[in-house]
């Protein structure tokens, strides 16, 4: 619910989001970790775009066009621009121990 939360902050940035495997009953087969910090991105990309907003050249162009004609072109979105991996130790359906590394599971930074 974005109405009553901190997400009202206008600028694009990273927020905490912890994924707890116990809450979805996945702790029966996932050995480690018990959960992880996934994070998410939220916020606006206002004109002009500040350097810390990690904007792409395209976002800068879209932002300029949007400032001239907001009805036709939307403002750039706040999205994850850098991810990192997590490793999971779990049991497969044959009760075999598996260690897998999943890419792009954690948001490292957000940008426009």
């Amino acid at each position: 619910n974005t109405k009553n939360s901190v997400f009202k902050r206008p600028h694009c940035r990273r927020y905490n989001m912890y994924v707890d495997f116990r809450k979805v009953d996945w702790d029966t087969w996932i050995v480690a970790p018990p959960g992880y910090d996934a994070f998410f991105c939220q916020g606006e990309c206002p004109y002009p775009l500040a350097k810390h907003m990690n904007a792409t050249n395209h976002a800068v162009i879209q932002n300029i066009i949007h400032s001239k004609n907001p009805a036709r072109v939307p403002a750039p979105c706040c999205v994850p621009i850098k991810h990192s991996a997590i490793s999971m130790l779990y049991l497969d359906r044959d009760k075999k121990v598996v260690l897998k590394t999943y890419q792009d599971m954690i948001v490292e930074s957000c940008g426009c």
Binding site: V31, L89, L91, K95, K96, L99, K100, T101, Q103
Partner: protein, 307 residues
């Protein structure tokens, strides 16, 4: 459903209050609508879960209880190593450092592959018929999906000093032993009595008659019986064949031979943990038993190209 039953009396529709029969029918209709909504929600949650599991490379949620399965400590070691690697990668280690990591001695496959599986020997009544210094290991690797590409496989066998050597060790200087361990190639003639060779053979054709079997030597290693350690043998060629032709999975034959048999202090293979000793309980054995580690690359989990 609960919100429907808690409606105030005045707010009930006239038709429901006038005709009890109809009310029941209406209630049951509302209830069925409510349950239909719940069913729909459950269905959506199920589909979301399926989608998430699919992105994890799984067809369905494994219906297992982790408390019932003994996990080898080596898998936890690998897990901790991977976690450390992920953290370093997140902190953007320099390319030079990444290269030096990849060429390090410590299980290069573990660094490059995105999936590691462990397998234990399928025990059979025939195990006891093998001589003490030989053992046929069978592993069920059918759970490895066909899409995964083999990066490497190792058979890990534990060994520890037998009691006869432990007595001799009491008279030894510990520094001398560690030096010997590091400089593995500098053995004096007197020390050869402590060396044991472990051979691992790929069973290309199992024994049907007395001598028609075909065993191919795939790796060998010399161990120092004074050490308490683990030997890792490369069994990748066998795994490559097993994964392409599962019907040719006849297992590995492991043989333990003292290097200098006549004067060796260890004439049996009890110091190498090929099989469970009578006194060993489940917990102790699960930590010491031979382990097959298979490193694969799951293309489904390959990192997407950066923008």
């Amino acid at each position: 459903t609960s919100s429907l039953t808690e409606l105030p009396q005045g707010k009930t529709t006239p038709s429901l209050t006038r005709e009890p029969g109809t009310k029941l029918a209406k209630d049951s209709e509302d209830s069925s609508k409510g349950s239909a909504k719940l069913d729909k929600d459950a269905e959506i949650i199920k589909k979301l879960e399926e989608s998430l599991l699919n992105s994890f490379g799984l067809d369905e949620k494994p219906n297992v209880d982790k408390s019932q399965v003994k996990i080898h400590p080596y898998m936890f070691q690998l897990y901790n190593l991977k976690v450390k690697e992920n953290l370093e990668e997140a902190e953007e280690v320099s390319e030079d450092r990444r290269e030096s990591k990849a060429s390090s001695k410590f299980t290069p496959q573990a660094i490059l592959a995105n999936t590691v599986r462990s397998f234990t020997h399928i025990e059979s009544p025939e195990d006891k018929f093998h001589p003490e210094h030989k053992m046929l290991f069978r592993f069920d690797v059918s759970s490895i999906p066909a899409r995964e590409i083999l990066q490497g496989a190792e058979l890990r066998i534990n060994y520890s000093p037998p009691p006869s050597v432990e007595k001799i060790l009491e008279t030894y200087d510990k520094d001398t032993i560690s030096n010997l361990h590091v400089n593995r190639r500098k053995w004096s003639k007197n020390e050869l009595i402590y060396l044991t060779r472990i051979n691992v053979f790929d069973v290309v054709r199992p024994s049907k008659g007395s001598r028609d079997h075909v065993h191919r030597l795939i790796d060998t290693s010399v161990i120092d019986v004074r050490m308490n350690s683990t030997v890792s043998l490369d069994v990748s060629p066998s795994l490559k064949r097993w994964l392409s032709k599962p019907q040719t999975n006849y297992g590995f034959y492991v043989e333990v031979n003292p290097l200098k048999f006549d004067s060796s202090v260890v004439k049996d293979a009890s110091h190498v943990r090929l099989r469970r000793s009578i006194s060993q309980d489940d917990d102790a054995w699960s930590e010491k038993q031979p382990l097959l580690i298979v490193h694969t690359d799951d293309p489904k989990l390959a990192k997407r190209e950066k923008r």
